[in-house]
C-alpha cells in the first residue's frame, strides 16, 4: 500500500535527503554513536546443545582410553580420544573445558537442564512456578541484531518451545519466555532468503500510524504541564521516538532485496528420519545465514532432553535406534563405546561446519569466517543425569581474542573427572559435591565481553576467565 507523502514528512530527517532506499546497510541510519562502525569487523555467536550428557567411564573401565569424552592429559599437551579425534584439525582453534556448571541447578536432574543451559537461571523443581531469564545469545543479539535483517536465528531439531523444564529451544527473551525454534529447513530457508509477504509491510505501516498518533497526544499534553513535568513527559516522548526509529528500520528491511542464495545443493525437505543429512542441512543453513550476514547470532538445540522427540533419531546416523537410550546403557557391554560412537558423529558434523567457516574468507574483512565466529558447543550433564562438569567446547573467534589450543580444567578436586564418572543410577546425580566447580556464566561473561558487549555481569557472574 502506497503511503501518502504527507505522513512521511516527519520522517524525512531519518532518511536523509536524497538517499536511495536500496542501501543494504543500516549503519547510516543507526545511532550517532555508531556512525563510524560501518567498517568494523563482524562478530558472530553460534551455540549448540547436546542433550543427555556424554560418555564418562571411570579410569579402570577398559573403554576409558578410547571413549571417554574429555581429552586425556594437561592444558596444552592433551590428547583427543576417539570421541573427539574428528576435531583434531581444529585443535588450535578450540578450547575444551571441564569443571564448569551452573550453580543454581547442580542438584537438579539433568533432563531438566536444556532450559537453563544458556541462561543459568534457577528454573525450579517439579510443579514449581517456572521462571527463567534472558539467554546468552539474546544478550548478544540485542547488541548485534540491529545490523542484520534477523536479530537471531533460533533452531532446534524438535521445534517449537517445548515445555517448562523440557525446552525445545535454547533462546529465552528478556522476560524469560522461550523463543520458539524453527525446525523445518524449507521454512528456515524461506524466512532467510525468500521475500516476506505483504502482511509484514502492513503491520509496520499500522505501527507507524499509531506512533504518529501517540506523538500528537504527547505534544498536546505537554502544553498543559509545568516545566518540571514536561521533563518527566520527555521520557515518554523519547520512548515514542525510539520506537518509531525501530519500526522505520524494520520497514526499510522490507525494501532491501534478500540475498540471492543458490538452493540447488540443499535438500530442503529433509527430516531427522535421514539424520546425517538433516544435521548437515541445518548447519548449512546457519552457514549461509552467516555468510550473507542475514544474522550474526544462532542457536541450535540438537536434541531435547530425555528422548521422546524426533531428535532421538539422530543416533540412527551411526546405526543405533535412539540417542537417549545410549546414555542409559553405558553399563552394558560396549555401552560406553556405543555412546562414544554417537558423540563422535556429533563432533564430526560440528567440525565439518567449523571447517566450512574456516575455509571461507571473511566477507569484507580479514582472515576467515571462523576467526570472527565464536562457536560454543556442550551439554548440561556429564555423566548420567548429573548436572555438573559440563562437557564444553569453544571454537573459532581467534580475531575476537580467544587463545585456544587448550584444555582448561576449572574447579578443584576433580581434575581427572573421576568424581563425575561411572554413574549409572539416579542416586548419583543428587549427591553431595566433594569437589568445586566454577560458574559457567563466568565463561559466558568472558564471551560477551570478547564479542564486544559492554557488560559487567551475566547470569549472576561478575568474573571472567582470563585464560580463555
Amino acid at each position: 500500500m502506497h503511503t501518502p507523502l504527507s505522513s512521511l514528512d516527519r520522517r524525512k530527517f531519518l532518511r536523509g535527503a536524497g538517499v536511495a532506499l536500496a542501501l543494504p546497510w543500516m549503519e547510516t541510519f543507526a545511532d550517532p554513536g555508531r556512525a563510524g562502525s560501518k567498517s568494523s569487523p563482524r562478530k558472530r555467536l553460534a551455540c549448540f546443545y547436546l542433550p543427555d550428557g556424554v560418555p564418562m567411564p571411570l579410569e579402570k573401565d577398559p573403554s576409558f582410553k578410547d571413549w571417554s569424552w574429555f581429552p586425556h592429559g594437561g592444558r596444552t599437551d592433551f590428547s583427543l580420544t576417539r570421541c573427539m579425534e574428528t576435531l583434531a584439525p581444529l585443535r588450535n582453534e578450540m578450547t575444551v573445558f571441564s569443571g564448569l556448571s551452573h550453580p543454581a541447578v547442580r542438584r537438579v536432574h539433568g533432563h531438566r537442564n536444556a532450559d537453563q543451559f544458556l541462561t543459568g537461571a534457577n528454573t525450579g523443581a517439579m510443579d514449581d512456578e517456572y521462571k527463567n531469564s534472558i539467554s546468552l545469545d539474546q544478550v548478544f543479539a540485542a547488541h548485534a541484531g540491529e545490523h542484520t535483517r534477523h536479530a537471531s536465528l533460533v533452531l532446534s531439531t524438535d521445534g517449537g518451545t517445548g515445555s517448562p523444564r523440557g525446552a525445545h529451544t535454547l533462546s529465552f527473551n528478556a522476560e524469560g519466555r522461550p523463543i520458539p525454534a524453527e525446525h523445518k529447513p524449507k521454512r528456515i530457508f524461506d524466512m532467510l532468503f525468500v521475500k516476506s509477504g505483504p502482511d509484514a509491510a502492513r503491520r509496520l505501516a499500522l505501527s507507524q500510524s499509531a506512533l504518529d498518533d501517540l506523538m500528537e497526544d504527547a505534544r498536546s499534553l505537554k502544553h498543559s504541564l509545568s516545566k518540571h513535568d514536561q521533563e518527566t513527559l520527555a521520557e515518554y516522548l523519547q520512548s515514542v521516538r525510539e520506537t518509531e526509529m525501530r519500526v522505520e528500520k524494520a520497514r526499510r528491511w522490507l525494501d532491501v532485496a534478500v540475498p540471492v542464495v543458490n538452493a540447488d545443493g540443499l535438500k530442503l525437505d529433509v527430516t531427522p528420519e535421514d539424520p546425517r543429512n538433516f544435521l548437515r542441512t541445518m548447519y548449512e543453513l546457519i552457514y549461509l545465514a552467516f555468510k550473507t550476514d542475514s544474522t550474526r547470532v544462532a542457536t541450535y538445540q540438537l536434541g531435547r532432553e530425555n528422548g521422546v522427540g524426533i531428535s532421538d533419531y539422530l543416533a540412527r546416523a551411526v546405526g543405533f535406534k535412539a540417542a537417549h537410550g545410549l546414555s542409559h546403557e553405558t553399563k552394558n557391554p560396549d555401552g560406553y563405546k556405543n555412546f562414544g560412537v554417537y558423540c563422535r558423529f556429533i563432533n564430526e558434523e560440528l567440525g565439518r561446519f567449523a571447517s566450512r567457516l574456516k575455509q571461507t574468507p571473511e566477507p569484507d574483512g580479514d582472515g576467515n569466517m571462523l576467526d570472527h565466529t565464536a562457536l560454543f558447543f556442550g551439554s548440561a550433564s556429564s555423566a548420567f543425569h548429573l548436572s555438573r562438569n559440563y562437557p564444553l567446547i569453544l571454537m573459532g573467534g581467534r580475531k575476537l581474542g580467544f587463545k585456544h589450543g587448550q584444555y582448561l580444567k576449572y574447579g578443584r578436586g576433580n581434575e581427572r573427572n573421576q568424581a563425575t564418572s561411572g554413574i549409572s543410577s539416579d542416586s548419583g546425580w543428587n549427591g553431595e559435591m566433594s569437589y568445586t566447580e566454577l560458574p559457567l556464566s563466568n565463561l559466558y561473561l568472558t564471551m560477551l565481553q570478547k564479542l564486544g558487549v559492554e557488560t559487567e555481569s551475566f547470569g549472576g557472574s561478575t568474573e571472567v576467565l582470563s585464560e580463555v
Binding site: R112, G160, S163, P164, R165, A210, D217, D229, T232, N306
Partner: protein, 860 residues
C-alpha cells in the same frame, strides 16, 4: 481557615525562607562544626591536609562545612568513610584521634549527611505528575474493560522511594521497552475484551465419580450393588462392610481414594501421565447432571485429586470448573470444621517436565455431609500456562499433550471433603456478546455509518479512560488515525481495536496528576482531577462511572458530597486494593516475599502459614479502616485478625477455618498491634534467627518516621571465630560491638528498640529461652528509659510517642495519597491534620477523610 493556609502557602512559594517556624526548613549545623568538629580536624588532619601540605591533593580546611547547600558533600562523604573505618589518621602519623573526638566527628557528619539528602530531595519540587504504577495500570485496565486478567506481568517492577512507596513520582520512569509493553498489552486487552462472530460452542466434561471408579476397578459397580443388597436385605451393616474392606486392604486408604458412602467400598485414586491413560474427553452437548450419588472421591487434608482433561480445552475463554461437594461425615463428628479446597491447573509432557499452578482460590465447603451442593471457579484459559504440545501431538503420544486439573484440600485440621460429580464448561459465557465487548461496542443507532459510530465509541471510551471529557479535536485526531488504518484492516472491528489500543497507550491514559507552573501560586485542582486523585488513592484505579459523573457536574468539591463519595469508596470492595498496597509499602513487606527460612533451623515451614503471615497485616489494616478503629490499635490492640494456622502458630486458642477474622486477645500484650505480627517479625530476621538491628530500624523508620542515618561504607565485622565473642549472647555481642565510638552514636539509638523484640524468633514465635538461657529482652534507651520486652515497648510508645506515631502515619499516608514525597513545605499541613485527627479520637477512616479534605489533597 483554608484561606489563611492558602495565603501562607502562596507566601512560602514566593519567598521560601520567610516562614522559618512554620515550614521549619533545616539549616546546616554550623555551630557544632565550629565548636566541636573543627578543633578536632585542626589537630588531627590539617597538618597533612591543610595550608602547608596537601597529601593526596586533598585539603580539609577549605571544605564548605554547610553540607545542605554547599558543594563539598562528596568530599565529606570520603572523610566520613576514612575516619569511621580508622584509615585516617594513618598508623604512622603523629596526630591521633581519641575515641571521643572520633565520635564527635562521626556523629556530626552522619546527621548532616542524612539531613542534606532530605533537603536536596525536597528542593526538587513537589509535583504529583507521574506515570501509573504497574498495579495501578493493571487495575485500571481491569476496571475499564471488565476483565480479570493480569495485564502487568511483563512490565518491569517499580523501585521504592526513600519513603518506601512505589507510587512516588520521582521514581517512575518510561523507557522504550515499557512503551512497547503498554502497546502490546493494550492490543492484547482489546483482543480479549472483544469477540467476533457467533458464540463459540463450548465443550463440556461431565465426570461422575462412579464412572471414574469404574476406570480403576471395572468390577466396582457390581460389587457395590452386591454389598448394597446385603445391607438392605440381610441386615448387613455399614460397620460390617467397612470391616470387610479393611480386612481386604489391611487398612483404610489414607491417600485420595474413591469410596461408596453406603457400603464403604473403596479404591485408591492414581494418576500418571504416559499414554494419557486417565484422560477424559469432552462432549459438545452438556451432559445432564445426575442426582446425587453415593460414589465419591474422598480428599483428606493436604491430599490432591487429579482430573486429566486431555487436550480438549479451547485456547481462550473462561473455563468454569464446578464440583458438587460436601464435608465428609467422619467418625468423630466435628461439626464446626469446614474443609477448604483449592484448584490447580497444569500439564506433564515428559518425565522431568511438569507444571501445576494455582488458578482458583480457596473455597470453603460448607455443605454438611449428605447434602452436597455445587461450588465453582472461573479460570481464564488464555492466562494460565498451557501444554505446548496440545495441538501438535495426539493423546497417547509423547511428549504428552494432555492437561490436568488438580484439587487440593488446604484445610489445616483433619477434615475431608467428598465430591461426587465434576462439571467443566469451556468457554462458559453468561452473555453473548460478553459484557466486555458491549461496553466498548455499545448498541447504537449509528452502526450503519461506520465512521460516525467509530466517533461515538471513541468518545465514550476516551472519556472513561482519560477520566475527563474530551474535545472535538481529540476525538477528531483519533478519527484521523482510524481513517488511515481502516483501509489496511480487514474490517471495522480490527481498525477500532488498533485505535482504542492507542487510546490506552497514550500518555493521557498512562500519566496522572498535573501541576501548574511554579510561581503561579497554589491552585485548587479541578473536580475531575480530584476524582482521579481520590480513586487512585482508595482504589488504585480510574474513577468509576458515578464518581466521574459527580465530578463532571462540578459537585465533587462540595464538602458534604466529597465526604459521601469518600465513604462510598471506603465501603466498596475495591478499597481492598488500598489496604493491600498501602500496607505492604508502608511496612516494607516486600522483604517477606523474598524471605527463605533456614531449613536446618526450622524444618519445612508450611507455605500456607507463610501466606497467612503475609495476609495478616493487610487484613488488620482493612479491619481498622472498615470500623474506623483508633490508629493506636496499630501499636497495641486487644484483638487480632487470625485464621487457624496463625492462631496455632501464636499458641492461642483454636480458631477454625482459613479465613482471617477478628479474634479477642487476652491482655498479656504479646500479640495485638503490628509489633507482634509474625510476618513482620520474620521479615526482620535473617531466616535463621532474629535480627534486632533490622527490627529496630524497621520500627524507627516505618512506624515512627525517624530513620537512623545509613551506616558508613565500611562496617567492621563481628569476629565470630573469637571464642570470647561466641560465649556472649546476641544482646551482649551487640553491646560489645556498639562500644566502638564510631558506631555507638547511631547504634545507641537503634539497638535498644530491636533488643526488646528478642522474645520473638525468626518465625515470630514466642520464646522464653535462647540456647538454654532465658531471653533478656530488656534494654535502655539513650535517654535512660528502660524498655522491658515487647510489652515495655508498647507501654513506652503509648505513654510517650503517640503524637510521633500519629504524625508518622499521617505523613506516610499523605505521601501515598499524593503520589509524591512529602516535603518540608508540607509539614505544616501534616501537623495540622495530625492535631485534628487526635482531637477526633483518631480513627483510621477519619484520617483518610481528613487527608481528602485537606489542602494538601485539594491544592496542587
Amino acid at each position: 481557615m483554608k484561606n489563611a493556609v492558602l495565603v501562607m502557602l502562596v507566601a512560602y512559594l514566593l519567598n521560601p525562607f520567610s516562614w522559618a517556624d512554620v515550614t521549619d526548613i533545616p539549616r546546616a549545623n554550623l555551630e557544632t562544626y565550629r565548636e566541636r568538629v573543627e578543633p578536632v580536624l585542626k589537630a588531627a588532619c590539617f597538618e597533612c591536609h591543610g595550608p602547608k601540605k596537601q597529601k593526596g591533593s586533598f585539603r580539609i580546611d577549605t571544605l564548605d562545612s554547610d553540607l545542605l547547600t554547599g558543594s563539598d558533600v562528596s568530599w565529606w562523604l570520603e572523610v566520613f568513610e576514612v575516619i569511621s573505618n580508622g584509615e585516617m589518621p594513618p598508623e604512622d602519623a603523629e596526630a591521633r584521634l581519641t575515641d571521643e573526638a572520633k565520635a564527635q566527628v562521626v556523629d556530626w557528619l552522619s546527621s548532616e549527611i542524612q539531613l542534606a539528602s532530605q533537603v536536596r530531595r525536597s528542593q526538587q519540587g513537589h509535583t504529583s505528575f507521574r506515570r501509573m504504577t504497574r498495579y495501578e495500570y493493571n487495575y485500571s485496565m481491569q476496571d475499564l474493560l471488565g476483565l480479570q486478567i493480569d495485564f502487568s506481568r511483563d512490565l518491569p517492577p517499580e523501585t521504592s522511594s526513600e519513603d518506601g512507596f512505589k507510587n512516588s513520582s520521582e521514581m517512575l520512569q518510561m523507557t522504550v521497552g515499557q512503551l512497547m509493553q503498554y502497546r502490546t498489552q493494550a492490543r492484547r486487552a482489546m483482543e480479549l475484551a472483544t469477540v467476533r462472530g457467533n458464540q463459540p460452542k463450548p465443550v463440556y466434561y461431565g465426570i461422575s465419580m462412579r464412572d471414574f471408579t469404574e476406570r480403576f476397578d471395572s468390577g466396582y459397580a457390581a460389587s457395590v450393588a452386591r454389598t448394597g443388597k446385603r445391607i438392605r436385605e440381610e441386615g448387613f451393616t455399614l460397620e460390617n462392610a467397612l470391616e470387610e474392606e479393611e480386612e481386604k486392604y489391611r487398612k483404610r486408604p489414607g491417600g485420595t481414594h474413591f469410596r461408596n458412602l453406603l457400603t464403604g467400598q473403596g479404591v485408591g485414586a492414581r494418576w500418571s501421565y504416559p499414554g494419557a491413560k486417565y484422560a477424559w474427553t469432552p462432549t459438545r452437548e452438556r451432559p445432564d447432571i445426575p442426582d446425587v450419588m453415593q460414589d465419591v472421591v474422598v480428599l483428606a487434608p493436604n491430599k490432591k485429586f487429579i482430573v486429566d482433561v486431555g487436550n480438549g480445552l479451547p485456547d481462550t475463554g473462561n473455563m468454569r470448573v464446578r464440583i458438587r461437594a460436601a464435608r465428609l461425615a467422619d467418625d468423630d463428628e466435628r461439626g464446626q470444621y469446614q474443609p477448604t479446597v483449592r484448584l490447580y491447573f497444569g500439564n506433564q509432557p515428559s518425565n522431568d517436565s511438569r507444571l501445576s499452578v494455582k488458578v482458583g482460590g480457596d473455597i470453603v465447603i460448607d455443605a454438611p455431609p449428605g447434602t452436597p451442593r455445587f461450588y465453582q471457579w472461573d479460570v481464564p484459559l488464555s492466562e494460565v500456562p498451557r501444554n505446548a504440545f496440545r495441538h501438535s501431538h495426539k493423546l497417547g503420544q509423547l511428549p504428552n499433550p494432555a492437561e490436568f486439573l488438580s484439587l487440593l484440600n488446604t484445610s489445616s485440621v483433619p477434615v475431608s471433603l467428598v465430591i461426587d460429580y465434576i462439571e467443566i464448561i469451556a468457554p462458559a459465557l453468561d452473555h453473548w456478546p460478553p459484557e466486555s465487548h458491549t461496553r466498548i461496542f455499545f448498541p447504537s443507532k449509528e452502526t450503519a455509518d461506520q465512521r460516525r459510530y467509530a466517533g461515538e465509541v471513541l468518545r465514550r471510551f476516551m472519556e472513561r479512560a482519560w477520566r475527563r471529557p474530551v474535545s472535538e479535536d481529540e476525538v477528531g485526531q483519533k478519527l484521523q488515525l482510524y481513517d488511515r488504518l481502516r483501509p489496511r484492516c480487514a474490517d471495522f472491528q480490527e481498525a477500532m481495536i488498533e485505535v482504542v489500543a492507542s487510546v490506552l497507550s497514550s500518555p493521557k491514559f498512562l500519566y496522572l496528576g498535573r501541576t501548574v507552573e511554579r510561581g503561579e501560586g497554589s491552585q485548587r485542582i479541578t473536580d475531575l482531577e480530584l476524582a482521579s486523585r481520590l480513586s487512585f488513592f482508595l482504589w488504585s484505579s480510574v474513577p468509576d462511572v458515578e464518581l466521574l459523573a459527580v465530578a463532571r457536574r462540578g459537585a465533587l468539591s462540595e464538602a458534604a458530597i466529597l465526604e459521601r463519595q469518600t465513604r462510598r469508596m471506603l465501603a466498596d470492595p475495591k478499597v481492598g486494593r488500598f489496604a493491600r498496597h498501602y500496607t505492604r509499602q508502608w511496612l516494607g513487606m516486600e522483604e517477606l516475599d523474598f524471605l527463605k527460612f533456614d531449613a536446618k533451623a526450622h524444618g519445612r515451614v508450611d507455605p500456607l502459614l507463610v501466606e497467612s503471615m503475609k495476609q495478616e497485616p493487610v487484613a488488620f489494616f482493612s479491619e481498622i479502616l472498615r470500623l474506623n478503629r483508633p490508629i493506636l490499635d496499630f501499636v497495641h490492640s486487644d484483638y487480632a485478625l487470625l485464621n487457624d494456622r496463625l492462631a496455632k502458630h501464636y499458641g492461642l486458642p483454636e480458631v477454625f477455618g482459613s479465613e482471617l477474622r477478628e479474634v479477642s486477645l487476652s491482655s498479656e500484650g504479646r500479640r495485638g498491634g503490628l509489633l507482634g505480627q509474625a510476618g513482620l517479625l520474620a521479615m526482620n530476621s535473617n531466616g535463621k534467627d532474629s535480627n534486632p538491628l533490622k527490627r529496630g530500624i524497621w520500627l524507627l523508620d516505618n512506624l515512627l518516621n525517624d530513620p537512623p542515618p545509613p551506616p558508613p561504607p565500611v562496617v567492621p565485622e563481628i569476629d565470630l571465630a573469637d571464642p570470647e565473642i561466641l560465649k556472649l549472647t546476641l544482646k551482649q555481642r551487640m553491646e560489645d560491638h556498639r562500644d566502638d565510638p564510631a558506631c555507638s552514636s547511631c547504634h545507641s539509638k537503634i539497638d535498644p528498640w530491636g533488643i526488646a523484640f528478642e522474645n520473638f524468633d525468626a518465625l515470630g514465635r514466642w520464646r522464653d529461652q535462647i540456647g538454654g538461657a532465658p531471653v533478656d529482652a530488656s534494654s535502655m534507651l539513650f535517654n535512660k528509659e528502660e524498655l522491658r520486652g515487647i510489652k515495655g515497648v508498647k507501654d513506652y510508645l503509648l505513654a510517650n510517642r503517640q503524637d510521633q506515631f500519629a504524625r508518622a502515619l499521617t505523613h506516610k499516608m499523605a505521601s501515598y495519597a499524593l503520589g509524591r514525597p512529602i516535603t518540608f513545605s508540607d509539614r505544616s499541613e501534616v501537623d495540622r491534620i495530625t492535631v485534628e485527627l487526635r482531637e477526633r479520637g483518631g480513627g483510621l477512616a477519619d484520617l483518610v477523610l481528613l487527608i481528602v479534605k485537606s489542602d494538601l489533597f485539594q491544592l496542587n
